[in-house]
């Protein structure tokens, strides 16, 4: 029975068994297979969990039956049990680039490199059965004649604008770093929706331009726990976005652009772009009295964590008959007053 809180009859285990009924054996869908089959879904979990451990995230997705929110919950709970190494700072300039586009400039210094993307491939569902060999149909684009090798580093596309004094100096805004951390782990759909609400017209009039989007591997160097020497600990897949907003800062005219920066683990690019938009919105509206949700740092910090949101929304599935009895009792009393 639903109200069986003490689970005396083994109902919880039986329900979980039912939920896993028909699942194929874990060995048939191994972690590496899942990482290759659903790389962006795995990336989304690494990003929302804030734990770049793709194989663990793939395992979590499998155990959560594809529910990304539950997978994130599993990964975060697991990561919370691990010892913390000293914090390390990552220099974005050290990224080993795999893709770089600059929508703001046709021909920027350093050039543009598409890398791996389906962005420009037509969205036609392939109804043919996949061939026994060869790449999956969505990727069946002819190999480029000679892909240019990627350079080891790119100049920032924003650099030229900064040299010309067109970008507003970053203001010391309380909580901006904290917001960026929250955006980094924010729930993908929620963050996209809030960023969309801004450019859809529910924020201040904004005219954002994505100056640069970069995807690649960030090298991690950490201090060795014994010797204290900096050692290379591996690489993290990451995406970085820089957005500028035209025109108004802090509610008054300024001939310079507002900069927003977004970053995410993994390769779900709309995460980085959405984060950059929201960061720029909040920077511009920092001194506004009652900003709309998409410009409101505090609001965004509160609502964008997927675990907090999903947890509280889904807690409504828990028994509420005690509190509801109180509601009904009050309704009855009110009714009597009205009738009386």
């Amino acid at each position: 029975m639903y109200t069986t809180i003490l689970d005396q009859s083994g109902a919880v285990a039986a329900a979980a068994r039912l939920a896993r009924e028909g699942a194929i054996a874990p060995a048939t869908a191994g972690e590496d297979d899942l990482c290759r089959l659903l790389p962006l879904l795995v990336d989304q979990v690494t990003a929302e969990a804030g734990v770049f451990e793709p194989r663990v995230c793939a395992r979590a997705l499998r155990e959560a039956r594809g529910d990304a929110a539950r997978a994130v919950s599993l990964v975060r709970a697991w990561a919370a049990t691990l010892p913390r190494l000293p914090e390390c700072r990552v220099d974005a300039r050290a990224m080993r680039p795999l893709r770089r586009i600059t929508p703001a400039f046709a021909d920027p210094p350093g050039g543009q490199y598409l890398g791996a993307t389906l962005d420009y491939a037509q969205r036609l569902l392939d109804l043919d059965d996949a061939p026994a060999t060869g790449p999956p149909p969505g990727d069946a684009v002819p190999a480029p004649a000679a892909a240019r090798p990627l350079p080891a580093a790119f100049p920032r596309a924003l650099g030229g604008l900064e040299e010309r004094g067109l970008v507003a100096e970053p203001e010391a805004i309380a909580g901006r770093t904290g917001l960026r951390h929250r955006l980094c782990r924010a729930e993908t759909g929620a963050m996209t929706a809030l960023a969309y609400s801004g450019i859809r017209g529910y924020g201040q009039r904004s005219d954002p331009t994505l100056v640069e989007l970069r995807q690649g591997m960030l090298p991690l160097r950490v201090a060795h726990p014994d010797s204290g020497e900096a050692v290379h600990a591996g690489e993290v897949a990451a995406t970085l976005a820089e957005v500028v907003l035209y025109r108004v800062h802090d509610g008054h005219a300024d001939p310079r652009l507002s900069l927003g920066v977004g970053a995410t683990c993994g390769r779900v690019e709309r995460r980085a772009i959405s984060a950059a938009l929201l960061d720029a919105n909040c920077a511009r509206a920092a001194h506004d009295a009652s900003p709309p949700p998409c410009d409101d740092r505090e609001f965004l910090s509160v609502v964008l964590d997927g675990q907090e949101a999903a947890g509280f929304v889904e807690h409504l599935k828990l028994p509420h008959h005690v509190t509801f009895t109180s509601d009904l009792e009050r309704l009855g009393a009110l009714g009597e007053e009205v009738d009386g």
Partner: protein
């Protein structure tokens, strides 16, 4: 371009996978055409339509694509540009889809084109009578800046209540000394509806007035179409004493020497200042060929 498209075209124009000539089914195309006729009869008025999911993402030209596919005939010669450039990846994908699902010819040369789908530019050549220019539109409603709610702005359009947008312009003049619209400057069409010209630069906004071609505007994400028929008055909103101004550039195109076209920055390698080049790459190329 894509193997998926090869697959669905392999069965001939009828499409063995159930995809139709010009991708959309006949009823869908008819509905878009009816909406377009209504739009042409009510210049600048936004008409809702049943925007379909297209094989490009919402916001990537799905509205323009639906107009193009509903309008194109096999005799058409189709040109697709993004920011003025025929070779932009998004433009290539759309041109490929249109020509290969319809049998229409493709071109990059503006004078040869009878149907042009564009993102954010009007080709520098004056377009002739009979040419159809299809704009991709991200934000259909010019009153979005006044109120984000469609229920409110629809009423404003119906009542001809454009005080809000005029006030917006006035406040721009007071606070910033010029209109803050850099592109998408709202226009009044034939003395009636106020319309967004789509995010074309002011250089192009000025060129809509009295143009001989047909302008069709498609906003797929917002499920809205609108149109400007040939030889229609299109006036950018401006005050008598503060006239509308188009972009000014610091020099001619470094490639073709043009001083009258819309220029964009290019290059700037190794600390060198970026150079100005024509955004309409086909126009620039033909000018250089003629000069030789």
């Amino acid at each position: 371009m894509s193997a998926a498209l090869d697959g669905l075209l392999a069965g001939g124009a009828a499409g063995r996978r159930g995809y139709n000539h010009a991708y959309l089914d006949e009823a869908a195309k008819r509905e878009v055409r009816r909406t377009l006729l209504k739009a042409l009869c009510l210049p600048g008025h936004q008409i809702p339509f049943a925007s379909r999911e297209m094989p490009v993402a919402r916001g990537w030209g799905s509205g323009g694509l639906q107009i193009t596919l509903a309008t194109v005939v096999p005799e058409d010669t189709v040109k697709v540009i993004d920011q003025g450039d025929d070779e932009s990846l998004n433009a290539l994908g759309i041109r490929d889809l249109v020509t290969r699902t319809t049998g229409a010819a493709a071109t990059t040369e503006t004078p040869a084109a009878t149907l042009i789908q564009t993102r954010h530019r009007i080709p520098e050549d004056g377009l002739a009578e009979g040419v159809v220019l299809v704009f991709q539109v991200p934000i259909a409603d010019p009153l979005r800046i006044v109120d984000a709610r469609p229920s409110v702005t629809r009423r404003m359009h119906a009542e001809g209540d454009y005080a809000g947008v005029w006030l917006y312009l006035y406040e721009d003049m007071v606070h910033h000394d010029h209109a803050s619209f850099t592109h998408s400057h709202p226009v009044e069409v034939e003395g009636g509806y106020v319309m967004s010209p789509s995010p074309i630069p002011r250089h192009d906004v000025a060129r809509l007035d009295g143009a001989p071609h047909i302008s069709l505007f498609g906003a797929g994400r917002e499920a809205t179409l609108y149109a400007v028929p040939p030889y229609t008055r299109v006036r950018p909103l401006a005050f008598e004493d503060r006239p509308f101004e188009t972009e000014r550039f610091g020099g001619p195109c470094v490639r073709c020497g043009s001083t009258g076209s819309f220029l964009v920055e290019s290059g700037g390698e190794d600390g060198a200042p970026p150079r100005l080049v024509c955004s309409d790459t086909d126009w620039c190329r033909r000018r250089r060929e003629r000069a030789r």
